[in-house]
Each structure stands twice: as C-alpha cells, then as structure tokens.
Symmetry: C2
Subunit: 458 residues, 2 copies
C-alpha cells in the first residue's frame, strides 16, 4: 500500500514536511545531516538519561535489553529524519505513524515522548550554536531541526491516540467480559479454591513432617487473584486490601504457625489465620457484589439510566448535533420539598414518589430520548432533535403533569409533588459538562424564583 | 487544595517551568510579556485560521459562538503564560492540566493542539526577529518562548491522555451496556416500531387527504436508530447501509408515492417501499446477531477465549511481570497435518479434534493461566509466573499428551494428532506483538524441523 494514496491529512503532512525542508538553506540541512551522523548516539544517550529521571518513564526502561534496543532505534530515528529528508517524505511520514502505533502498544504516552523531545531540542540548540558563526543561518538551522522534530512527534501522536483509545476500549470490554462470565459461578468457584488452600494448610499443620506451609500467593486462589481478578476489579479499593492480606498471611501468619528454621510453631495462632481468611472472604464477596450492581448502568430504585453514562451519551449527542445540525436539549428536574415527603412519609414514601416520577418522565419522551437519575431527587432528560420552542413546551408539559398528578403512597394515601425544571439547549459549546452546568443553573433559578416552574438556560 | 502538595511529577513540572524562566534574561521575558499584551489576539486569529484549514479541527470550530469563546481563551492563555511566569508556577502548571481535561471532554486531540502550537511558535519566531537586533538575545528569547509553550503542551497532554482514556473506557462500557440490555427484547421492539411506521405510511396512502407521508427519519424507529443504535453498533458497516436506506426512503421512495406538489403518486411503487423495508429488517437482524456473538469474547466451537482480548491480556501480564519481576510465557501450538484430518474425516471430525485439543490444554494449565483459540488450528496458552525451565517442561508435557492421546471421532473411530509448539518467554520487551511474533517464529521452526516438537524462541 502506498502512503501516497492514504487520507488527505497524510498528504497535508507530507506537504508540510517538504515545505519545512524546502524553506531551509542547503547548508543547514547538510550540517544537521552530518551532525546527526556524528552525534545521534550521544543525543540518544542524553535522552535516556533524562527519561530515567522520570518515575513513569523509568518503568519502560528497566530491562537492559530494552534500553539497548530503544537506544538503537532512537539513534536511527534521529538520523533518518535529517538524512535526505526530501527523498521520501511519504515514507518518513508513514514511519512516524508506525512509531506512534508501537508507542500505543507499549503504552508509552505522548507526554513522555514530548518530554524527551524537549530535551533533544535543547541539546540540538546548543550543538548548532557551535556549528554556525552566522546568527541568521544558526537560527534557520535551529528552526529547521525543531520544525522537523515537532512535526514528527505530531504524526506519532495521531496514530498513538487512535490506537491507544482503541486499546483502552478493548481493555474495558475485556474487563466487563471477565466480570460478566457468570459472576455467580465465578464467585463460588474462587471461594472454593480459597477454602481448598485453607484446608491444605490445616492438613500440613497436622502432618509434622511437611517442611513448610503452602503459600497463598502460589495457590490457585493466589494465581487467579493476581492474574485475573485484578483486571476484573480494576480500581476497586478492596483489591489492594486483598493483596495486603495475601502478603500478610504468607509473610507473617504462616511463618508464625510453622517457622522455616524448624522451631515449634505457635499453633494457637490458627485463629489469626481464620480471621484473615474471613476478611478475605468478606472483601471478595463485596467486590463481586459491587461489580454486579455497578456494571448494569441502571439505577436500582428507578430503573432509569444511572449517572455513570451521562458524559458518554451527551458527548455523543453533541457530535451528532454538530454533524447533522440538529438541536437537542437537557431538561434537569428537581422534585420540590422532597425532604418533607421523606420526613412525613418515610423513605419508603420518598422511594415510591421517585419511582412514579420516573415513570411519568419515561411516558413523556420518545424512543430516541434518554432519562437519567441524576442525583437523589434530580432527574435528567435528554431530548434529541428538538427546537428550543418544543423543548420548552415539553418541559412545561412535564411540569403540569407533576402538578396535576397525585403520587400514590402506601395504604391509599397520596401526595402532591411539584418540580422545578431547568432547560438548556445545546448552544454549540463542545463541552458536555458546560451544557449540564447550564441546565443546573437554570434549575437553580427555577427553585430560587418560587419552584414549580420552568426556566430556560441562557 | 494546593497544587504544591500534589504528585512528585507536578513538582518536577514546576521546577522545570521555573528553570526555563530563570535561565532567561529579564529583557527577553519583559519583551515577550509586552509582545503578548500587544499581539496575543492577532496570534490567536492566526491560530484559528490555520486550524480551520484542517478537516478534523474544523469540526470543533464551526459554531461562531465557540470560535469567539475559544479565541478569547487562546488570547488569555498566551498572555497568562508570559505574564510574570515566576509569580505562581504552581498555578500555571495546574491550569495547563485543567486545559488538558477540557480538551479531553471536547475530544480535541493532542496532535491538533500541537499543530496549532507549531504555527504559534513559527509566528513568534518571526515576531521576535523584529524585536531584537542582538542575535544572541533573540535566540534566547525564542528558546524561552518555545520552551514554555512546549512544556505547557506537555502538561495538557498528561491530563488529556488520562481523561480521554477514561472516557474511551466509559464509552465502551456504555456501548456494551446498551447492547447487553436484553438484546432479544430490543430487537423485537425495534422491528415492531419499524412496522408501525410502515403501517402508518400505508394508511396515509389510502387516505387521500393526508398531505404527505410520514418520514422514516422522524419516526420512533428513525429516532432510535440515529440516537441509540449508532452507539450500540459503532463501527459495523450495516450502520451506514441502514442510514442510506432511511435517507433513500425519505428522499426518493416516499416522494414518488406521494409527491409534495399534490400530483398523483405512483402507487404501483409500493413494492419498492416493501423491498427497502425488507432490506432494513435484514440488516437490522444481522447487526443484532453479530453483536450478540462478538461481544461474548469466546470462540463458539472450543469455548476458549477468542483472539480478540489477547492484546489486552498479554499487555496486562507484561505490566504485572515488570512490576513484580515474575516471568511468563506464551505457548503457541499448531495441530500437525490438520488439513488431512479435515479431508479424511470431514469438518465435523476436525471440529471434534479441536474441541478435545482445547479440553486437553485447559486440563494442563492452572487457574491463573489463559488459553486462547489463536487461529484455525492454532491454540495459544499464556502461562503466568513460570521460569523458562518450567515453561519448556509444561510445553513438553502438552506435546507428549497430544502424541499419546487418541482423539475420538464419530462412530467409535479415533485419530492421532500431534502438535508443533513454539514457546516464548517474556524478555522485557514491552510490545505484546513482538512477544507473540517470537512465539510464532518458534512454532514455525518446530514445524519446519519435523513437527511434533517444542522449540524455545530466541
């Protein structure tokens, strides 16, 4: 495949590349070419020294083999950019994109690459000051070197971002897939392998000849937790707690039960082990249960979308709206005096009202609209393909439905609940958070100015 | 919260910022400050003119309101960077991170920002050439301006990447959530609303007084498809086909049936409409079915993990391995002469062998290991926490199990199938693709050197 026949953007990049080169006097180009022939290795060494000073970068460079290999590719890269940069602009452009793909695979983020490039540019500036007496030429050579490096980084960044976003999505899909694989069965299975290990320890304790107790870390449970559960429950605080307990069992509890030096163990410490195992079981079941709930994306009480996916849904609608030039609106609705409902009729009463309010909203919108539970007594509707006029009309309709609908409570009682409503039309601002804030401010104004009313956001 | 008390990296950034400023003579700093006071608006205009020439950037800047607002923030940003840059380095650093977060929310990628910055730096270089006669000072001022801009971009990039990856993950979670909401019910429901619309059209056709036929685009089906299905089925080619059909129905088929100018429609064209509706139904059911299959992440025949999540799983293990200094291995296994099995015993025979081969592998590994169907007759095992020695031993064990196990076919027949096996130990190279390639090359060598053997990758 020829890079020539790719996207228009690539053509732009090649033209840009050529333009930078052509705008530079031959003497500058030749000097940089020979400078790189001589100094590229030294520059690559500076680069890695500098990167090793950065904690996140260091993790990419620990293995000697990697460091050596990357040092070589860095040297080659520096030379390739400045060696006959006009011969194959398309090839150079394509190569930068490839580098970006590799960076995405090894998760080397753009900002670390930029950081390294800043250092390179600094050293190049110093080196070029030595090369030229003429200040004008020196400035041109510097601009040339920095221009090519910046453009190369930009090209890497294009493919890095595309690929790293794709990989982030696949990672998330994998995580959800791993959780979704029949969680009930998985929970019981892992509890079972944990208990098998515990049983093994107890048997070994009774069998005086066994040299040492089997470490939890190396058990089936330990292996599962370190290599599979960590991915499933990424970001949950119980993960670290479980890792700590595993370490404590292996390094503190087991050695006390059966010291390695053959001394008599403190068998009365068996209850310590049982306590740790109980903690493990508790944390594990918390993890499984939380993830069962959180992943379903719906609010348990109202069955509306939970707030979690609101940014995704609104961002997507902003894109649709920009592309197709259709309007959309957010309607943020807060139940008036909801605290009184809870105080007078108990939380069960409040819950009943929320469920009926949600049903009322769902019945007021279309197949393409979205309804979220935004907060405690705040509900949010996204109306797609509406004008400000119809958004206001629909909001007003919702308000009057609330006003006229008695909400049923237990034992044949009922209660009136009005709603304060803020409406924000999408105004072209690409930040979803900004739009939500506008709806929120309008709703606040509706509250302040007496409740049970609709306010359009400015 | 004080930015001072944040991560070590921030302190580094603040120190870097201060170092760039302190290394620059006061005259350069003062000149840039007053240059920005005078020219920042002009520079911001150049910036947006340039960005409008880029197709992807243009989509962020269409709305006048946005362009005006961003122009203002760009002007402010330029001034803030060069105005007393030592007074509050921590504040400046924190602000750049905030800008990166906003860019992530509006999905303005780093490479577009860098592109704009390249242009800014170019214009600044020209402007500074006018300001200073002394070449030395001019070079220092240029290095200063570019240094601060580069560092600011790098800081934006840090928070951009973190946030945009998080958002990509949430988007994917939302997509899977949207698909997972009882697909069977959803499929029937959307087919029903499509048929409701078709029915409405037919009724309107018979009722001569109705002015025009209801467009599909604005029907419940059209709304659902444009605002919900597009997110669920992102990237599937049927989506574009369905969008085309909806457009064709509304713009070609319906106007022929009932022209807007009141002329008599070609009622005999009803069959065209039915054909398009049949196409829609077919594409829709293809979409639902493909997504049901693809999302489950398992190979339908062997119930092993499908290849889809291999990059996620291996990347993650690379991270674990680097962090905890444990080895892991990939075992890539190809069934020997599998084509003969298929030719002699039919595809059913081949399928049976693959299923038994998968079961054999699953029974040979531990709770923390992974088994994938890598290709047609290629299976891949990831062994966690192993040395090269034990990886070779396990591979050899698998090879000998294959050699000694007769694979059952229909009607009491059986067949012998051996395996060629390549084993690659993780060697510190952070690219998962590189590791897979090494396992692949070793497996190829096992094939070439006579099959039914284990080769360790170099």
């Amino acid at each position: 495949m020829h890079a020539h026949t790719a996207l228009p953007y690539d053509q732009t990049a090649e033209t840009e590349w050529s333009n930078i080169v052509l705008a530079t006097p031959e003497v500058c180009r030749a000097t940089l070419d020979s400078l790189m022939g001589r100094d590229a290795e030294k520059l690559a060494s500076y680069f890695y020294q500098h990167m090793l000073g950065h904690p996140q970068a260091r993790s990419f460079l620990t293995a000697d083999a990697v460091q050596q290999r990357l040092h070589q590719s860095m040297t080659r890269w520096l030379r390739s950019i400045f060696h006959h940069p006009m011969d194959d602009a398309a090839g150079i452009v394509a190569h930068q994109r490839l580098v970006g793909e590799v960076h995405a695979r090894i998760q080397l983020p753009v900002h670390l690459v930029s950081r390294g490039a800043r250092l390179l540019k600094h050293h190049l500036r110093l080196a070029l000051a030595q090369e030229f007496d003429d200040a004008q030429i020196r400035a041109q050579a510097t601009a040339y070197a920095e221009g090519l490096i910046d453009l190369a980084l930009e090209l890497m960044s294009v493919s890095y971002e595309r690929n790293s976003q794709r990989e982030a999505r696949t990672d998330e899909a994998y995580r959800l897939f791993a959780i979704g694989q029949n969680v009930g069965v998985e929970r019981e299975r892992q509890r079972a392998v944990l208990m098998e290990w515990a049983n093994e320890v107890m048997v070994a304790l009774h069998c005086k000849s066994a040299a040492s107790l089997p470490p939890l870390r190396k058990s089936e449970f330990g292996m599962w937790f370190h290599h599979k559960a960590i991915a499933m429950f990424e970001g949950d605080m119980e993960v670290e707690q479980i890792l700590d307990i595993i370490e404590r069992i292996d390094n503190v509890v087991l050695p006390l039960l059966r010291p390695r030096d053959g001394a008599r163990g403190a068998v009365e410490r068996v209850s310590d082990l049982q306590d740790e195992i109980d903690n493990l079981k508790f944390l594990l079941s918390t993890l499984f249960e939380r993830n069962l709930e959180a992943e379903n994306g719906r609010d348990a009480l109202t069955r509306l979308f939970s707030r979690r996916f609101l940014p995704s849904v609104v961002s997507r609608e902003i894109n649709v709206s920009q592309k197709r030039n259709t309007g959309f609106a957010l309607i943020l609705l807060d139940l008036d005096h909801f605290k009184q409902v809870n105080d007078t009729h108990g939380h069960e009463g409040g819950d009943l009202v929320l469920q009926q309010a949600s049903a009322l909203l769902l019945s007021s919108v279309r197949n393409g609209d979205f309804v979220f539970r935004y907060g405690g007594e705040e509900l949010l509707v996204m109306l797609v393909e509406v004008t400000a006029e119809s958004a206001r009309r629909i909001a007003e309709l919702i308000r009057s439905k609330f006003e006229s609908t008695p909400f049923s409570l237990a034992q044949g009682h009922s209660v009136s609940v009005t709603a304060s409503i803020g409406v924000a039309m999408f105004d072209g601002h690409p930040d979803h958070q900004y739009l939500i804030k506008r709806a929120d401010a309008a709703m606040y104004e509706a509250k302040q100015s007496g409740r049970n009313r609709v306010v359009m956001a400015r």
